[in-house]
Symmetry: D2
Subunit: 286 residues, 4 copies
């Protein structure tokens, strides 16, 4: 990843109107985000996989080992969970972060987990390699400002009804703060269609790649809401030009505390990875 | 307003599944939110009016006097402004709060202003009568939890792509925390239509009134994005059963730092109020 | 209604680019559509009411008498029914048209009914006073062309996902053919919200009134899908500036072959009309 | 393609509720539509390509030869064009049909073209191999009934705001009439996003394949509205499981009378086909 220091940013944002830092015209190369030797935005398709929520040591470790065996490079898992209902499971919070750190130590996988609140940033940063800002917080501007001050890579998920313009403006909040290690993530938008949880918008992949220098990944689990659709849409995302995938995998989806119906089993995941590898090769990626 | 103490809430939320506190079945009467003698959810239609953003003492005071003369009971004005672009005017922040407090002292109007971050809650509470949680933060759950612990009335705006079910779950976060002084506010949803900024969803008014005991107001300024449509939709909202209105008024809309095109002048506002009063009477309100 | 003859239209559409006939700039007055002495687009709010589908002589006549007593000026009723499923009741077709003509003879009400196919145009015209082009046919351009050649007034319903620009272009097909007796009808658009059948878009009323010279009515029955919401939204539509209403009324909604859940009983209708009259007066209409 | 005669359909649709003929449970095998030896729904990915509208002999023939050379099996081209504005080019109509028949004779490609009106069915059938029912006519039920009586294969495009359930009900109109040679076509849906013409919904591909026995193709030209996005989304569609593609190609897009901005040049098309072939092989197709 190139070095993009604050001193380089400042002259750009002081112009009037400011040069938008996330746009192609502000850089003459693609941004590659590096985490523990993993390059997101390079030739390799990077897969982040794991459970929706961290539930227990046994659940997390068995899933982590399985996704590593299947070819994932990064473990996902939620410790702080934004839930529609206040009566739903809200995540293990700090205890969940510790389990993620344990899974990292055991497996060597890098970790990505969501931060919901600026006040949690220090503790989340202490346990994770990549921060995630969730869809519901895509326009939580004070959170974006704080994450922009961190020097941790961040997966910024598209809001479920955000236009691509609004999405890039949200990323601009991060970059203006000095954090350019941003991974964009299309995760399905809200439409009139009710047979799927969201409508995965794969148009977003080439559109974002054309207008920004940032890497773009796709989350087909939230994008569809049905585990049996995930492998198909994961392959489609790679064919559309995505730099990586974010996929929910659970060792026992039927017992998951959240999102079980959209989680792959480890063997589904292995199977998906075989096709994803073939499609990646077909479009000139690894 | 009835007293709904924590001790009454606890038994309800400990049942399994919990009784949802915002729904009609949990209460046998409408909630009326009282602020400085103003009752929101009673017979009177309550109008909250003022500029999108607090810009200066002169701008705020002249607008405040004008809306008071026109019949508004509550002054709105943003000190912390959530803006799509990080390069847009972000509000006067604490300085803006002080100007709001000054306008209250001068005019006797109650104040409503947005809180964007839990860390600002103490200072915002110190200067306002009613908190506002904006559309983009409708599912900022940690903010909702903190506002739920306050004993200040709160206008909770509907997210721009929130279903009514999700909206009521967001209000549930507030009530679960013990704050039942909630005013719901329909402010337009995101649809395919591009000639208006949002699509004001007046279906929401009778639907919310049927399912909750909470008062419901309507913001036709954001709901349409065009000042010349505001009076028509304000009247329509009252005819649909709204308990109040939230309207942007600016003494000089053409010079406004934000949302000028959807702001009424004081004389437009006076004119709107005449029709609103007539429509209110036609549907049995004041 | 003014006379707008083909000879006046032709010079306009031969300019390049053509003057769009439906827009305000092509006329210096509002269009008032006259049918049997009823003026749509004048000071009076015109109510069209009746069952979704014509089902039987008894059903139609009893409903017709009831809506006339309640103050409706025009009887609606579908003989040709566009239904999502081919296995649903498709209407009584020609038999239904005859019943409508009978109801007209008995009650003196004017009739509006849908035409779905250019091949039915002659027979439908023979039995009705006003044609209706339904939402699903708003962009059935060959049907629009044929209806444009008729000299019958036509209610053109907005497509359920048509932008207002597309809607006015559809009306332009009618006017280009020489038929300027067009009544626009907002009937709810398709959005992400699932608690209502459609989202009634009352923003459309002032927006259409500003840009066209044509009368605009509102259908709160399809716009909401719930009978108990209809009176509230009917009042709101009038407050928003609508020139009339199109409302489903059935003498026995629970036995209706289609749309029973959104049909008013005659007594609900009477009750609605009282409020609608009061709101009309409040906004300077009759 | 198996034989599905009227005598087999009738017992199914006489049950109560009727067995829906388009659903998987009504057949124990996939439907393969055969046209001039081309099998749609078999192992091979079938590509239909050509101009939006037939404009002239030279334009059509040069494009036809180019798409044949690139690997297309079927030539698309509109003779009857549904256009939003009545002042836009409406197609060459019968003259266009004759040019399509000429291109077929010259190149041996099969032809697909749109029928907009039941009254044109005879003449369109006389010149084409496959009928197309366009998005705007997906719920033109009387047209569907007439096309259902034909024994021509038909591409039924998804309406731009049709749910998949409504889409399958529209296909049911065709099958109920006895025409089971139906090819479903996802072509983008209407959402809030404005940077693309429509939002291509690739979730629809596996969802339709799971619930129906019919072949499913994808139109990335209308689905995106930008020619430079088409190759990426075409590959993604194949990876998602599509049985074929419908792509706009024009020998001189910059001079096209419609949809030039979403049309590939012949050399773009060749390039796209290379990647599409590689992706097809990666997912076990030809």
């Amino acid at each position: 990843m190139e070095d993009w220091t604050i001193s380089e940013i400042e002259p750009l944002i002081r112009t009037n109107p400011p040069v938008r830092l996330v746009l192609r015209e502000s850089r003459n190369q693609h941004t590659v985000v590096s985490v523990k030797g993993i390059e997101i935005g390079g030739r390799e398709i990077i897969v982040m996989a794991g459970p929706c929520a961290v539930e227990s040591e046994e659940q997390l470790l068995s899933t982590a080992r399985a996704v590593k065996a299947g070819g994932a490079r990064i473990l996902r898992g939620g410790a702080f969970k934004p839930r529609t209902s206040p009566y739903s499971f809200q995540g293990l919070k700090e205890e969940g972060l510790k389990l993620l750190a344990l899974a990292r130590a055991e497996t060597g996988l890098a970790i990505v987990t969501e931060v919901m609140d600026a006040r949690h940033l220090e503790i989340v940063c202490a346990h994770t390699d990549i921060l995630q800002v969730g869809s519901r917080n895509m326009q939580n501007f004070t959170l974006l400002e704080e994450v922009g001050k961190c020097r941790k890579p961040v997966v910024l998920k598209r809001g479920m009804s955000a236009t691509l313009e609004e999405y890039l403006q949200a990323a601009e909040y991060l970059m203006k703060g000095g954090n350019d290690q941003i991974i964009l993530c299309e995760r399905g938008i809200r439409t009139f269609e009710t047979s799927t949880r969201n409508t995965l918008d794969l148009n977003a992949v080439p559109m974002l790649k054309r207008h920004t220098h940032l890497p773009v990944i796709v989350d087909p689990s939230h994008g569809t809401g049905h585990w049996w659709m995930v492998p198909r849409l994961a392959s489609a995302a790679v064919a559309a030009g995505a730099d990586g995938l974010l996929v929910e995998v659970h060792c026992r989806p039927e017992a998951a505390l959240s999102d079980g119906q959209q989680s792959l089993t480890p063997s589904d995941f292995d199977c998906m990875m075989k096709t994803v590898r073939a499609v990646a090769a077909a479009v000139g990626r690894q």
